[in-house]
Every structure is written in structure tokens, then in C-alpha cells.
């Protein structure tokens, strides 16, 4: 029963993943991704990781999905001809596909061969404690894994700053005081003013 369910869910997850990259409309891609996330959450549930399944739905299907939706809406999809003007050469799609494809192939190989792995290799300490309750996870998180826990907060902080720096539009200095400071910061170099102007223009200041 569990095995059948697992294979069904895994197959569905792979199907949705294929849907993500093959859908014509970006919105459909995002919805396929949502399907893949939900399938994964169900797989976690099947394995007995209640908390992980909940977190998966909360963080991925909830928050990350919203992020993806906004990214799609950031694109000016009304003008798809502009996309064609920028050839995909810059991203080297075939290279990415090649690398990803070979990784997947290796995975399939591993899957085929892994029938020979003795199942005693499981994390016995973890298994003894069990996963279907939050307590053991909580205790492990706040004692043994406290450093990764704190590192995660730093990772989130860095992500927030990193993305906001890129997302923010260049802002033209206002008023005589800020302009004076801007000139001061730019130093006395020639051509700085035109550089700054070009930069503002390039940043899409509307």
C-alpha cells in the first residue's frame, strides 16, 4: 500500500516537474510547481514526517509560491517579442540541460543499483526517537543542531539584504544637500556624472 502510494506520488511529482519546464504559459509553470510541492509534502507524510510535510506546505506551497507568482507578474509578458530579442545563448540552456540531464541519469543509475544497499544503514538514533512527533525534532534542533539553526537566521538575513539591494531602483538624489553629497561621494573623477546618469537610466528609473 505505502509503496504503491509512494510510486504514484513520485510519478506525479516528476510529471508536475516536467510540466514546470514544458508549460507555455509561465502561470501554468508556477501551478505545476505547486503541484510538485504538494506531492512532495504527501511523500513526507507517507514517510511519517508530519512536521516536515507541514513546513513544506507552509514555506514552499505558501510563501515561495507567492514569490514565484510575483516574479512571473514582474515580467512584461504582454510584450513577449522582447524576449526573442535576447537570445537564450547567454544562459547556455543546452549546457544547463546537459548538466541536469546527466545528474538525473546518475540518479536513476543509483536508484537501480541501490537495491543492493542493506537497509541497516538508516540513522538508527534518529529512527529510535521517531519523526512523527515534534518533540524529538525540537530537542535535536536546539541542542545538537543549534549552530545550523543560528546559521539559518544569518542566511535569511543575508538573503533579504542581497535581494533588496538588487530589487531596489536607483534613486536620484533630491534637493541641494543630497546632490552635493552625491557629488562628494563620487569624488572628483571625470565622467562620473554621466556614468551616474547612465546607471539611473539603465536601472529602469521611470
Amino acid at each position: 500500500m505505502a509503496e504503491t502510494l509512494f510510486y504514484a506520488l513520485a510519478l506525479a511529482a516528476v510529471g508536475f516537474a516536467v510540466g514546470v519546464i514544458s508549460a507555455r504559459s509561465p502561470m501554468l509553470s508556477v501551478l505545476s510547481l505547486l503541484g510538485a510541492f504538494v506531492c512532495l509534502a504527501l511523500v513526507y507524510l507517507l514517510a511519517g514526517f508530519q512536521f516536515l510535510a507541514g513546513a513544506q506546505v507552509l514555506v514552499y506551497a505558501g510563501a515561495i509560491m507567492v514569490l514565484f507568482l510575483f516574479v512571473v507578474m514582474l515580467l512584461n509578458l504582454a510584450d513577449l517579442s522582447k524576449v526573442a530579442e535576447h537570445p537564450t545563448r547567454v544562459l547556455g540552456v543546452h549546457r544547463v540541460a546537459l548538466a541536469g540531464g546527466s545528474a538525473a541519469l546518475l540518479g536513476v543509475l543509483a536508484l537501480l543499483a541501490s537495491r543492493r544497499i542493506p537497509d541497516t544503514a538508516a540513522d538508527t538514533a534518529m529512527l529510535a526517537r521517531g519523526f512523527d512527533e515534534l518533540e524529538p525534532i525540537a530537542v535535536a534542533l536546539f541542542s545538537r543542531y543549534l549552530l545550523p539553526f543560528e546559521a539559518a537566521s544569518l542566511l535569511l538575513l543575508a538573503t533579504m539584504v542581497a535581494v533588496l539591494v538588487l530589487a531596489k531602483r536607483a534613486r536620484a538624489p533630491q534637493g541641494p544637500r543630497e546632490q552635493a553629497q552625491a557629488v562628494d561621494a563620487h569624488g572628483d573623477a571625470r565622467g562620473d556624472a554621466s556614468d551616474a546618469a547612465r546607471e539611473l537610466e539603465g536601472a529602469g528609473l521611470r
Binding site: A113, A121, P148, A151, A162
Partner: protein, 500 residues
Amino acid sequence: MSNYLQSLPSIAPEIAMTVLLCAVLVVDLLLKGRDSRKVGYLTLGGLGVVAWLLLGQWGELGSAGAAKRVFGMIDIDRFSTFFKLFTVGSLAAVVLFVLLDRRERRHGIGEYYLLLLGAGLGIFFMVSTSNLLLLMLGLELLSLASYSLAGFHKGDKRSAEAAMKYVVFGGLSAGVMLYGISLLYGITGTIDLTEMASGPHSLAAQFSSGPVPVAVAIVLVLAGFAYKVSVVPFHFWTPDVYEGAPTPVTSFLAVASKAAGFAALLRFVGKLFLVDGADGAVQQYGARIGALLAILSALTMTLGNLAALRQSSMKRMLAYSSIAHAGYVLMGMATMESSGWNAAMFYLAAYYLMNLGAFGFVLYFESVTGSDDIASLKGLGAKALWVTVPMVVFLVSLTGLPPTVGFTGKYMLFVAGVDNGLLWLSLVMALNSVVSLFYYFRIVKALFLAEPAERSMPGQSALAGSIFVLAVLTVLFGLYIAPLQAWCDASVESLRLGAG
């Protein structure tokens, strides 16, 4: 819980970095984004404190090879301290580049320093942990900050392209690596490298019962590392990202980030296959990994050098040259013996010095000529001897000629290769060094052998000063190799003993 409190002093450098990162953020907010140079000076001061703490730790570790494990996942040994010291040094150099360069200065908003510190903290975690979870977190911290830094020149299309490519390839490789780690966890039931090497379900034991999954898992993890250090099948991103990113960021990516990848790779392979008292099966398996690394090394150095021959942009050329140098370091690793690993460590230290200097030079001339074309350097050699002579030193060192640290490093690698039955690889390296002579000396030719240019050179004495200091160090460590060599030996020794 008390043992956690007791081990807090051991991670004092990490705590100091975290506090510094938060302080930079708060101070930048208090300054309301004005006068960001103060934030830069604060960063430099804080890095000084971190370096002081690290030096204290180095001394405290006492005899060579001493190591202890704190929090169950951080190894405090000379190996990690060595890389942390170099990371702090290169971070300081990058911050100086930003503060001192006329053009880069105006991009030097508070977030620049904050992201650099975040990347540095990620490196700290990466180089000192034997726990694959913390390793991955450190790697992601480093990568996320780097993606943003690569696209820091907003409005510059090449910078945006660099950031985009870096994100796509970085995300892919992180996924591949995580996949490998999950397979390793499934096979051995642990994410700790020491337990993986010695536990009841150790990799060697599992390898004898089912070789394919173990090999696949190891190769997938190695692929993740290979991306980070730009080894040949995973090097595509390097030239475009290095060219498009702001030059100080490029120097950070080429030096600190790459060396951190190597540090994590050395620890990963070392903890699994090089620990003392490993049994025959492990050594046999380690030898196969060594053979794989040797092939990758030959491919990497050859392809990097051949591609560098055709470049006209200095940053692109240095990018391909950094790929070639990754091949040299891999050659030391491929011996799977202490002597080779010592040489690899030494070469990494040399690589820090000469590449930081070379990128400092690129930065200096970018703000003079407005481009990083080699052609634009024509005839400028005599105009700014304080910078061009150090650049010649860096180029000599990169080629591997005496009396520089690059020569010593290559010599040690060559000897280690010959001693450990990798004569063919040593010869490939020697041939590659000859090839590299051609493109490195194109810069020298443009600088000194062309008609002297008419244009005047606005001086940037502070930036030139820091480049000069790096050149002095490059020659100094080339002449007095004993101290640096002793540090490298102690670092590798601490890795071999393990801290289980």
C-alpha cells in the same frame, strides 16, 4: 548544555564576524545610507579584530596537528584557521579596493560591506565543518551573497548577466550536490564526515556491498565542489561571471570563494579517505578518487590555459587563468599523499597573494582607461611604475618563475607529482606553464614594449600602495618559504589526524 557554553570561546572568530555583520547593518541604517565610507572603515577594523582572534587561536592550538571539535560539528584546527586567516586577509583587501578606487567608491554603499561579510561568514562555516548540513548552509550563505555582489553594478547589463548566470549555474550545482549528500545520508545514515568514514555503515563497508550508489553519491558531491572551484566540466560560468562582476567582487570570487571551495573539498576528501589508520579498502577507494582528480586536473589546466590564449579582456584572461590554477591545485590533491596536499595548500596560499594583486592592478587600470582590454594598456608601463612593476611580479609568479611564491608552489607540486607516480601529470603541468607564459607576457608587452603613450595618469596612491604590499609579499614568501611551508604542513597534519 554547559559543554556548549564552554566551547563558545572556540568559535569566537565566528561570533565576532556575526556581531560585525550586525553592527555594519545597524551603523549603515543609523547613517541613513550617507557617508558609507565610515561603514567601510568599521568593516576593516572589525576584520582586524577577527584576524587577531584567529591568530590567538592559531597559537593556542599549539603543536602541529592539534584539533578539537566543538558543538559536535565545528573542527577547530590549524587547517580551518589557516583558511580563515586568508579569508579575512582577502576580505580586507577587497574592502580596501572598494574604498580606495575612484570609480568603485561610489558603489560602496553599506550593503556592499555587509554582503562581503556575509560571504566571509559562509566561508568560515564551510572551511571548518565536518557536518554536511552546516557545510551546505555555509556554501549557500557564500553563494547568495556572491550572486548579489556579482550584479552590484545596477544598470550595467554585463553585471546583470553575470549575476543571472551565476544564480542559474549555482542553483543547479547546489541541487546536484544536495542530491549527492542525500544519497550519502541514505547510504551511511549520517551527515557527519568522521562518522561516515568510521561508523558501522562506513562508506568503505557500503562500497564493498554496493559500489555504484556510493560512487554516484561521491561524484555528485564532487560535482558541486567542482562548480565552486571551476574545474573543467563545470567551469562554463567562470569567464562570464568574472568579466561582468565588479572587479573587487571578481577578485573576491576568484580568490576567497574559490579557495573556500578547495578547503571544503580538501576536508571532504581528507576526512573520508586520508585519515590516519584507514584500512586497505578505504585507501584503495581513495586511490580511485585520486585518479579521477588527476584526470580532471589535466583537463582543467590544459583547457584553461588554451582558452586564456585567445582573450583580449584582462578579466576574462584572468578568469581562464584561474581555471588553470584550479587544475594545478587539483594535481596536488590527486596524489592523495601528505606531500602533495602540503604543496596544494602552499599553492593556494600563493594563489591568494598573486591573484589579489593582479585583480587590484586590473581595477587600477580600469579607472584610468575605462576598460579592461589589454590593448588599452599600450605604452602605459613607464607612467605608473608603482603599479606596473608589481603587476610584472604577479605575472611572473602566476607563470611560475623564480624568485616568487608562485615558483615555489609549482616546484613543490611538480616534486610531489613525480614522487607519487604522477609523472605524466607533472609534465602536463610543466607544458601548461610554458603555454601560460605567452598570454601573461602579452600584458607585459603591451605595457612596456609599445610606444610610450601620451596620456597622463591620474594617480591613486593608496590603491597603488596596497598593490605594492601584495607584490612585496609575493616575492618575500618566494624567498623565505620556511614559515609558509610550516603553516601548510601543520594545517594538513591537523586534517589527517581527524578530530573524531
